[in-house]
Symmetry: C2
Subunit: 154 residues, 2 copies
Amino acid sequence: MIRMTKQTDYGIVLLSRMAGVPERQFNATELATESRLPQPTVSKILKILARAGLLDSHRGVKGGYTLARDPETISVTEVIGALEGPIGITECIDDTPGECSHEARCPVRGNWHRINEAIRQALDGINLAEMAQRPVPPLVSLGGAPAAQNADLG
Amino acid sequence: MIRMTKQTDYGIVLLSRMAGVPERQFNATELATESRLPQPTVSKILKILARAGLLDSHRGVKGGYTLARDPETISVTEVIGALEGPIGITECIDDTPGECSHEARCPVRGNWHRINEAIRQALDGINLAEMAQRPVPPLVSLGGAPAAQNADLG
DNA sequence: CGAAACAGGACCACAGTGGTCCTGTTTCTC
DNA sequence: GAGAAACAGGACCACTGTGGTCCTGTTTCG
């Protein structure tokens, strides 16, 4: 499975929640409680997002975080970029020579860019406003209808 | 950065090389030498790919591996799936209930599927034959006429 | 029968991640 | 002005997973 770190996972969850009420200010404790995530972890993630410019921070007693921009203008790509660095899969994301010891004879170097670009574009097409929507009805309150045990993707 | 393991990275490199001469048989030592990768690691990866049905293995002195199918019919999705499990980013890839402790209140659960699906489709559109092509001028001549550039993705 | 190559594990060092904690600094309230 | 609340910025640590090696079969060719 292609993994992204939990930090990024959580970050998107947190931002999506904030995107639901874009103008409101949230503080770390509140978001942690709502999300059932550990408070220090939430705080850490919010700090990173603020430093990346996705959130505005307000210090002091009535401080907290607000979205720096409209959720429609914040793509998933940006969030991932802030929390994990540039979108990409291999070490040869950019064209900096000398990064890869197999550079000279790597037959797929150019094609990785194709893959990375495909992923980047896919993520670029999804913004926080869309993530804040709820496309599926709540699963839990339905009396626990058992889903397929080995659900697969394809 | 969204990472995939080096194992998968190497796997795609190896398969791409094999896809360049689809009918030929390669053994692990040979591929390791060509790719400048450690032989045991290459061997390990090839074994996994064979078990997944992407390669046919031939034991004995003149044994080795051949592509199980035409490279055009093997997508990057399949390779990644064989080496890392199902394509996806979060733990809630499938709809199995109970996997995620935040399930009940996770506002983005359904939307992760959108992201995962976008990535899956992006990777699905790239096959081994395309990866075997050389979009950059060949630095190591293999004596074969370079295939015509196919449809560009980017 | 011996050599070469795959099959299938066990095993280990190491890096990266997840998570906690501590010490500032700012700002609101009393 | 003092105290509390909340962000800022690191340091720190346990643990998982990955990358890589190695060993013991088993098959097949010469």
